[in-house]
Symmetry: C2
Subunit: 245 residues, 2 copies
DNA sequence: CGTGCTGTTGATGCTCCTCAAGTACCGTGG
DNA sequence: CCACGGTACTTGAGGAGCATCAACAGCACG
C-alpha cells in the first residue's frame, strides 16, 4: 500500500510538468529516472523543434548536449572526403540521440522530417549515468537494439539487389511509422519520411535506381503511391517476398 | 592505506588462479568485477579452444553461455534464405562474445582462426549485470564501440568501390593484429586471419573480385604477399589513400 | 509565368558478377 | 619418390546490374 501511494505520488505531484505528457518518460530513457532525477534533469532541459533538413549534430563537432526524440525521424549520416554519403541509422521517437562517453561525434545527425526534441546538457546525463544503473541499462538496451539494426542493414547493403534493397526499406519504414500499426496487419499505409536522395543514401544506390525500383513495385501492384510520398502496401507479405527476407 | 592493502590482496591472493594471467581481467569485462565476483564466476567458467571454422553460436539457437575471447578472431555472420552470406562483425581478444538480454541469437558466430575462449553460463552473467553497475558499463562501452565499427563498415559496404573495400579491409586488419603494432608506425606486417571467401563475405564482393583487387595492390607495390596469407604493408599511408579515407 | 526542387524516364557505359579453366600448395597413400 | 585428390587462390572472357549523363514532367514558390 505504501509503495502504491508513492507510485501514485510520482504520477501526480512528483513528475515535472514538462515531462507529464512526454513519451520518453514511458518508453524512453527517462523511464529509468527517479522523480528527483527527473526534476533535476527537467530544470536544465529544453524542448524545441527542428525543421526538415536541419542539422542537429555536426560531424567532428564537440557534443555538449544529448536529446530525446519526441516526434519525427532523425537520420545519422557519414560522409567520405569526396562527398559520397551513407545513412548509417534512422532514429524514431522516443530514441535517445547522442554518443555517451565520447566528446566528439564522427557522425552527422539531421532531421529527416520536422522533429521535436527534448535536449539536456551532456554533463547532467553523464553524471546521472554514474549515479543511476537503471539509466545505463536503458542506454545499453537501446545501443544493442541499434547494433542489431545496423547489422541487419549490413546484410542489405552488402548482399541484396537494388530491388530487394528498396523493398526492404519500404518494409522497415512501414513497420516503424504506419500509424495504424497492428503488428500482424496484412496491409500498411504511411508517408515516406525521406526524399529519394535520402533513400538512395540509405541503400547505397543512386536516386535514379531508387526511382526505377519504386516504379517497378508500383506497376507490379505491390504498392500504391500518391503524391510521390504517400504509400499504400495492400499486402505486406508480397513486399516481404520482394525484400528477399 | 586500508584500501591500498585491499587492492594488493586482490592481485596476490584474491584473484582466482584461472584468471591470474587472463587478459580479459585487464582489458576485458572481467576488469569490472570484484574479487568475490571473479571467484564466483571462475567456479562456473571453463577455458577451451575452438578450431578454425568451428561454429561457436548458431543462428536461431538458444544461448546458454557467453564467452570472453582470449585469442584468435571470431566472425559474426548473417545468412539470407537463399544462402547469400554477410559478415557483420569481427571480434578480437579480449572482446565479450554474446548478446545480453536476448535468449536467441539472430547471428552465427564462427572461429575465423583457432580461438581460445573462456565461457560461463548466461545466468551467472545476467545476475552479475544486475548486481554490478561496472559490468554493465563495460558492456555498454564495448557495444558502443561495435556500433561505431558497424557504422563505419556500412559506409564501406554502401559507398566504396571494390578496390577501396579491399584496401579498407587490409587497413583494418593491420590495425587490429599487427603484432608489432606501434600506433604511429609507417609499416605493418601480419597474417590474414581469413580466407578470400571470408573477405568477400565481409566486403559484399565475390572471391574473384577480392583476388583481383589484392593482385592489383600487389603489382602496384602497395603490399607484398607471401604464401597468400602473409602480408607486408611497407607504407600504410599509401594503403590509406587507396581506402578512400 | 518563370524558377527551383523533386521525381521520372531513357540511352549508354563501366564495374563487378558469373562461369570456366588453370595454378599452387597441402597431406595422404601408393 | 611421385601420383592423387582436396582446398585455396588466380586469371580470363563475357554479360548483367547499376551508375552516369541527359532530358523532361509535376509541383510549389515568388
Amino acid at each position: 500500500m505504501g509503495t502504491q501511494n508513492l507510485r501514485k505520488d510520482v504520477h501526480t505531484d512528483g513528475t515535472p510538468v514538462l515531462c507529464l505528457s512526454c513519451e520518453a518518460r514511458h518508453r524512453g530513457i527517462c523511464g529509468a529516472l527517479t522523480p528527483e532525477q527527473l526534476t533535476a534533469l527537467s530544470k536544465t532541459s529544453w524542448k524545441h523543434k527542428a525543421a526538415e533538413g536541419q542539422e542537429l549534430v555536426a560531424d567532428a563537432e564537440r557534443i555538449e548536449s544529448y536529446s530525446n526524440i519526441l516526434s519525427g525521424v532523425v537520420k545519422l549520416t557519414k560522409t567520405l572526403a569526396d562527398g559520397r554519403q551513407q545513412i548509417v541509422g534512422l532514429q524514431f521517437a522516443p530514441d535517445f540521440l547522442g554518443r555517451p562517453f565520447k566528446a566528439e561525434s564522427r557522425i552527422t545527425a539531421e532531421a529527416a522530417t520536422p522533429v521535436q526534441l527534448c535536449s539536456f546538457p551532456r554533463s547532467t546525463i553523464d553524471r546521472m549515468i554514474r549515479e543511476s544503473p537503471g539509466l545505463e541499462h536503458k542506454l545499453l538496451e537501446q545501443t544493442l537494439k541499434e547494433l542489431d539494426e545496423a547489422r541487419d542493414w549490413m546484410v542489405t547493403l552488402g548482399r541484396k539487389t537494388a530491388a530487394e534493397k528498396v523493398a526492404s526499406y519500404l518494409l522497415m519504414i512501414a513497420r516503424h511509422i504506419d500509424p495504424s500499426a497492428e503488428p500482424d496487419e496484412a496491409s500498411a499505409t504511411f508517408d515516406l519520411p525521406m526524399t529519394r536522395a535520402d533513400i538512395a543514401d540509405f541503400l547505397g544506390l543512386t536516386i535514379e535506381t531508387v526511382s526505377r525500383q519504386i516504379t517497378k513495385l508500383r506497376t507490379d501492384g505491390v504498392i500504391v503511391i500518391e503524391n510521390n510520398r504517400h504509400v499504400v502496401v495492400p499486402d505486406l507479405e508480397r513486399l516481404e517476398i520482394r525484400a528477399g527476407s
